[in-house]
Amino acid sequence: MLGQLIVSGLAVGACYSLLALAMVIIYKTSEVLNFAQGEMAMVSTFVAFALLESFHIPFLWAVCLTFLFALFLGVFVELVFLRTAKDPTVLGLIIITLGFEMILMGFAGWKWGPDQRSFPFPVSNIETYNFYGLVISRINFWTIIICLILMFILFLFFRYTKLGTAMRATQQNPLIARVMGIRTKRILSFTWAISSMIGAAAGMLVASLGVLDPNMMMDPLLKGFASAVLGGMTSLPGAAVGGAILGIIENIFGGYVSLAFKGVVAFAIIVVMLCIKPSGLLARHYVKKV
């Protein structure tokens, strides 16, 4: 049972990792916790669903168009809601994301209705792979693989592309980055766009593992946030590792200790981490001289 718990935990943890990555990318650049991340992912997933079901577009094309939509959604939020805020404090910006979350939730309810839907994913949710007695469903297997591929692409992007380097520079020191000729405002928009695209990927995977409805991202978003805190709010590898660890811990706790308290493990982890190592597992703890 332990092996099975770990495998299932990894699959759901991979989705937490993606959401954590999406949150961390924005947090590193602007110190804003994007509470609309889940709903942005949900709306993008509904767009994918509409493309697949109403327009019968092939799956890969639908995913590409959804990423394009997510890109514009991210830029739209940054340009329209955050950049126009007058003398914004970080708290003010966080409240704006909360407001936008409500708007998106209401919009999804109005546009697509509250009913649950089955997201058409081209991998069977019944057929399984058997690795030395360890059963893993195809959908779980491919969820883990897709998440790993996306994380690898992100790593390559940040490490080897000009834009990725500019984003890292902006994240590290916006003032120096601006002095060096980087258009930091434009970079901020790109950050939101990439975060939104990663969120969309997470949303489509969450919907494939369960059902699609306007509330589907509430729980995963909170878990993604917990993963980011666990791994480190300023560390991209930390967010990825945090999600995997959280998924596994949750499952093992549910399997061997208490199912009833499985859902609150994530929040217990937040409290413990903030007390013991506030910077998270893989992030450095900066101390400012005053």
């Binding site: 299932s8 369960g210 399997g255």
Partner: protein
């Protein structure tokens, strides 16, 4: 002269006040010569939104009644409010119904938690409440004069469903997957009660919180129990998630569930076909039944609400409201809270499109019957039994 005028106007004012007072004392809250005000909450958004069609279904029945001329010259004015399955919101809606709108009655209403948030306030204010859309003891214990329950009791439903699995189908190892609230727990109560009588235990009791989205551990626990059959008492989302998770690990027991999940076409769609083979109880005639009343409803549905999907829960909203409408008819032109209660107490094996309904001076659980069905791969129901009495 002035004094006489003062005395006269004083007396006149007093007379007007007295008349107004008598008039207002005679007026029944939510009832005028032309209208009866009726309210209902229902989850139009949120995790239980699939059950939101219940409240919209009741609205269709009231529209039909109004189209047919109303009852004793009065039309029904219906107020539907979305509580998103959140008791705090239901509480606010209850206050609005009583204090602002002033409804005569509340009809149906999904959810034990939401219903319990307003039950006492409704009863203290003598607001009639007919047909809560859940089958728990909370509506009939303690006895509530103004509350008429129609939904069969979950405890008895689960008890009889387990009996069907045990006696008719021969499953001796039964597990339970339930929502961790009064709804799920009363289902568990019935399963345990039946198996206890057979001197065996439930092989696994696995619960989920309303907000849970990852049920992989729950599925492993069920598989680990070695159950031959699993009874589930949960929301549609959880039903889809647990079926998906158990299928992923190759666990395929005989599933059985409550009538709360009897919308087979919908469940089949959100479970990607895994719902086929499910055994469930039914609290109302099937929506495609040829019962004359059902045929009439379907025709009105096409005419008045063609955008709504004609499914079990939508129709259930009409079924829960039927005895209320019958009560209004029997109460006659002089409609007051008390005449309505007396009229409802005359219902004896009264049949609409749901179970036979019986109320009495000391009887507030009107629905006591169910029948069982098995879901075919195309979403239709193979009827396994006729109406079975489940509550003694």
């Amino acid at each position: 002269m002035l004094n006489r005028a003062l005395v006269f106007s004083g007396l006149l004012m007093l007379a007007i006040l007295l008349v107004a007072n008598v008039a207002s004392a005679q007026q029944v809250r939510g009832v005028t010569d032309t209208e009866i005000l009726v309210g209902q909450w229902g989850p139009q958004t949120g995790p239980a939104a699939a059950w939101g069609s219940v409240a919209r279904g009741s609205g269709l029945l009231f529209k039909i009644i109004n189209e047919e001329g109303g009852i004793h010259g009065r039309k029904i004015k219906y107020f539907l409010r979305d509580d998103a399955y959140q008791p705090a919101k239901t509480k606010a809606i209850g206050k609005e119904f009583i204090e602002q709108i002033g409804v005569f009655a509340v009809v149906s209403g999904v959810g034990v938690g939401p219903g319990m948030a307003v039950r006492d306030e409704l009863m203290e204010n003598k607001v009639i409440w007919v047909g809560p859309a859940t089958g728990v003891y909370n509506w009939i214990q303690p006895f509530q004069k103004y509350l008429f329950a129609i939904f069969p009791l979950y405890d008895d439903e689960a008890y009889n469903l387990t009996g069907h699995l045990y006696e008719k189908l021969g499953f001796k190892k039964v597990a339970m997957f339930y929502q961790n609230d009064d709804y799920g727990k009363q289902g568990l109560m019935g399963v345990e009660r039946y198996l206890k009588e057979k001197k065996i235990d439930v092989v696994a009791k696995v619960s989920a919180e309303v907000t849970d989205r990852d049920l992989s551990t729950h599925a492993l626990k069920l598989k680990d129990s070695g159950a031959e059959a699993v009874v589930m008492w949960c929301m549609p989302t959880h039903a889809a998630l647990i079926l998906g998770e158990t299928a992923k690990i190759g666990f395929k027991p005989q599933w059985a569930t409550s009538c709360t999940l009897s919308d087979a076409p919908f469940m089949l769609q959100i479970t990607k076909g895994l719902w086929a083979g499910m055994i469930h109880s039914n609290f109302t005639e099937l929506p495609d039944s040829n019962l004359p009343l059902m045929v009439k409803y379907r025709e009105w549905h096409k005419k008045l609400e063609p955008g709504e999907r004609w499914g079990v829960f939508y129709h259930a909203g009409m079924m829960f409201a039927e005895p209320f409408v019958e009560g209004l008819r029997r109460a006659g032109k002089n409609l007051t809270t008390e005449t309505f209660v007396t009229a409802m107490e005359t219902l004896k094996d009264w049949k609409g499109t749901g179970p036979p309904v019986t109320f009495g001076p000391n009887e507030r659980q009107g629905g006591k019957h169910l029948f069982y069905g098995k879901v075919r791969p195309d979403g239709s129901i193979e009827r396994l039994t006729d109406w079975v009495r489940i509550t003694k």
